[in-house]
Amino acid sequence: MERMPHRHRGGEPPDRSSDLLLEIRRARRALPAEHRELLDELGVQEAVMWKWPDDVIALYRTLGRRTPAAARLVCAAAVWLDDLRTVAFNGPYLTATTLGLDEASRQLALGYVAVHEYGHALSLRRATAEHREDGRRLLGLLPPAMRDHIGRSGYRTTELFDEVVATVYELMVRRVREHGYGPPEFLHPDVLAAFLEVIPWPKIR
């Protein structure tokens, strides 16, 4: 469900912007049905913005809200705007970053960003302070490449739990087509248990 208008700004060819939105919508449609329903219930929206970060800031101003700092937005591929329940995607950056990729790789890259952000939308609504206190321990239990990826991203301790969940969420969603809903064997039981506490994952609850 998308109620936000998306705009063609900054000379971006309409076909590229439409493609980007289509890929993001495809990623949302590919989520488990229960998650799509939950995102709908939460009112989660997405918007591709072409004048970045000005469009994000303008959205807050239009609503009479305090704006996020532009410095936090400038190097973002996407941002989950919690109080607006909106994922804002950086159209120019995502377009440039996926140049030269074949169709499957482009879908993979854009789907990665989109599903990670939908993972935030789900976990941030359901995770508690107690969950977040366990973020650093859970990070240490992740498989090496996932642990290094999050560990080197400079997140604060209080952000780690949500990053662990969103990262595991993308992995689990991407694996469904080939492996079904069962968790990968390399996922530590404590990580899986924490994931299942905040994500209503099908069939293995």
């Binding site: 941002v79 919690d82 607006l84 970053t97 090496p144 996932m146």
Partner: protein, 51 residues
Amino acid sequence: MSPPFIKVFPIDRLASGLRASLDPEGTGDLSPEQAAAIAQVEANVAALPRG
């Protein structure tokens, strides 16, 4: 009024995130197509204009 709570996905974390998702255990077990795609993303990100 406090600043809004936001979660930022930095563009320069995209390639490592893709690699971590496709090869979570870091064994290097990527297909040539996957490795090429990640390399292309890395090159594209490196070429981005920075504000």
